[in-house]
Amino acid sequence: MMAYSTTDTQLMIRRTVLLAVAVSLIYRFIAVSYPHQMEEPLLTSPGLDLFYWFWILTGMAELMTATVYGYIHMAALWILLIIAWFRPFQGIWFGLIALFFLTFMVNYNLYSGHHTHCAWGIFLATLALAATRPVAFGISWSALRLYACYLYGSAFLWKLFRGSLWHSEQARTVLEVNLAHYMHLHPDTLLTQVYEFLLVYSIVLFLLYCLAMAIECVFLAGFFTRRWDGILFFVPILLHSGTYFMADVMFFEMLVLNLAFIPARYWASAAKKIDQLNTLLHAKANHTSG
């Protein structure tokens, strides 16, 4: 745990997470999903989630989407990112980023009819960085790693206990429910031909589904050992690529949690290489100006 707490390692981790947050925010801006871009949506779906009820009943939902506050909220989020980049060892900025990002996504989910989970990795990673003291950071970063194991492991256990793990029609039906629209609209594309192949030879689809379940199950090992962290770093990339193509779900933002599986020595080595590069660039700049 303490291996993550050296200054150089912490700095690398903090700035990498900030870059991930920036990528997510840029993507969501391009995807026209900032509060002010949503054109004052009307229908909310809080479900039975008390946080969403709080968001509606306090008037925050309307404040965010129907007033200038929406602009202020997102501008503040970007400003916090910049401050945190230059003040990476002040945990308050990361705590505020986590809060602002959480409320941004709750607001989006509230109006979109479904409480999507794809961006929660960003929230959790920034929240983990609110701890800055060496011992606290070591605990927090390890807790994030275990949360990722719980996330994927519990996804597997839910499927096990609800019986969908053994359900032979699951993969096929999920694909068709989510992608019948695409296939009907694009009957002649290569992707539709791939889907048709998988639906005809559904044993292949079922095996891919079993692979996805195996990937989720493997995370349970992360509760007991770090020996498999190399595998646990890579397999979510496979999993989310698979669900993107097979179920039309976009979960790439969750890959920020993969950072928690990188051993401390790799962060330290990357920090050293960046230092060396900086030294070289400074030396060249001095030489050129001299």
Binding site: S33, S45, H114, E176, A180, P187, L199, F224, M250
Partner: protein
Amino acid sequence: MELATLIKSVWSYSPAARVLLITFMAVTLLTHIAGIQQTPFFIWGMYSEKYSQQNEYHYYRVVADGKLVNPFSTMYHPARHLLYRSLQDWEKMHRLEGGDILLDYMENKVPDVSWQEKAWFMAGLNSRDEFMAYPEWFKRYLGRVTGTAPHHISVYRVTVTGSHGAYIEIASVKLFDI
């Protein structure tokens, strides 16, 4: 044993850390038992419910100024989700003649409670005015996403049937035009 090590470290760190840990574990356990997520104690059970084999599939077709809107090539997932998933909710409200879906759910789930008399509950629901104004919002947001404000849109619920990726359309019901 990573989990045990973490728990020991948290336990010995501070009383506040112990409270956080116990709260997280207790709330997570309770919400999992109830099956009701409470942000930020997330439940990761998506696609765990059994999907029964279906013969028919549904989607929404949007035609703007006479041209079919292809959501797969004109918008990213967040925008597509905001448009089409909210449309699904609107359609459910349409079947309830403008009534709120959650109100209908609670009246069926807990019929002994007079939900319509609870002002705090009704304040959080969608009103009939919002239901009626939704098509205008849909058109406005669609224009924002595609970059071209349409003069007229028609939205249909399309039903297709088929297998092995080959589908034929068997029904198309107009939901609204505006």
